[in-house]
Symmetry: none
Subunit: 251 residues, 2 copies
């Protein structure tokens, strides 16, 4: 795999874009948190924590990417510090369970349902990430397929829970927030579906510099959608519900 100077720069620029987007979302969510009623403040706080954790990891990823290569006589050469892809998995291990917690918190279920659903979906999400990692670091197609398949079990379980389990809860939401909550459920599933597909690339014969470039940019864009855009959506839901409960408009 011979990444060109231009491809390396393109990926670095996308990492930098992601840092900026995560920082902006974090600031927006934490500052605007005061706009929503007390019932939804924790959901907005957690949304900002997710983008904050991602900001930290993209800072590390950007640094590792630049340290992993250097330009010698106009050609990109790998240094003795390999690019550390594990930052992504550490990030997901922390943020993916929290993303589900955001969504559950903004639904405002009963305290006991909130706790039970957060623990179950959070644990499934963590399991999904942990099962994916042994496959990610393997070059053997059979090993990748094995861990991909195992990881898909909790993935599909979460998708099922979000579509069926939270659907009845959605019906109990105020009319003005229903559309946005439906959008949030689809956004989770749509953006999350990207990850297992990208994971499949090397097993489908897609490899080399172009594929690696696409994977890094693709993960960055998916992370922006799944965390920053999703977080703003959670804030918008919290605003709609605040308005519906207070009868006032304050966006």
């Amino acid at each position: 795999m011979e990444i060109s100077v231009e491809q390396h720069q393109l990926v670095a620029n996308f990492f930098s874009l992601t840092i900026a987007a995560m920082a902006a979302a974090t600031a927006f969510l934490w500052i605007n948190r005061s706009q929503v009623s007390d019932r939804y403040k924790t959901a907005v706080t957690v949304s900002g924590i997710v983008t904050f954790i991602a900001l930290y990891h993209y800072w590390r990823i950007y640094g590792s990417w630049n340290e992993a290569y250097q330009v010698v006589d106009g050609t990109l050469v790998a240094t003795d510090k390999p690019f550390n892809d594990a930052y992504r998995y550490v990030d997901w291990l922390l943020t993916v369970p929290l993303l589900l917690v955001e969504l559950i918190l903004v639904m405002k279920l009963t305290a006991s349902d909130t706790f039970k659903k957060s623990v179950r979906l959070g644990a499934l999400a963590a399991l999904m990430i942990v099962l994916g990692y042994p496959g990610e670091i393997s070059d053997v197609a059979g090993t990748r397929w094995l861990w991909w398949s195992l990881s898909m079990i909790p993935f599909l379980w979460i998708v099922y829970e979000l579509f069926i389990g939270l659907r009845s809860a959605q019906d109990a939401q105020p009319e003005s927030a229903k559309g946005l909550i439906g959008a949030a459920r689809y956004l989770v599933i749509g953006s999350w579906a990207f990850y297992p597909i990208v994971f499949l690339f090397p097993m489908l014969g897609l490899s080399g510099a172009a594929a690696e470039t696409f994977v890094q940019i693709g993960y960055s864009v998916a992370d922006i959608v799944a965390k920053a855009v999703f977080g703003i959506l959670i804030f918008a839901i919290a605003m709609r519900k605040t308005e519906a409960e207070k009868g006032t408009v304050t966006l």
Copy 2:
């Protein structure tokens, strides 16, 4: 002790995970502090200060770990900057007394009891750390055993105080918070027990690269549980007590 490139990377990834977890917990606690009543704000502030101090030290530990080794021709070689384990002890010296203060503050004892218990348990905790350090930096089994034994005296005293001394105070807490306070007491003892056990490793013949890797990862996980998870638990207790006293639900 010959740590491999993979073991070094694994430990670095756990240090980075700990940085992210401590940063996330600090943000959560300081931002959500506004949710609890004035009586519990200091307990939540202090919880965030503990994770903030740990964030700082893990940042230093991560840096020291990376500077202590370099990869030469695919093999990990120690540099002339040894890994500085003292950051851990400085961290514990500050955070462990504060962890006990968090727990005492959220119990909301009388002002005089709060002061007396904070001073006594805080001093015992500091003494425990100080007595452990001469053993930690020694390679002589007899020296390690001596300081370990001395350090265990304040350790067991603290455990006794938490189980017996705070138990009667626990009975006076609102019904909804009793379970969580009990969980916090057990979490302190469960996560703290890890440290003296790890300290014993070299005296039990467990040494070498695998043991060192396990010790570093084990301390990181124990610190996340004892500080970040414990801090969230203190916040949850403060929320329950706020609700019980106000008669409202605002999580």
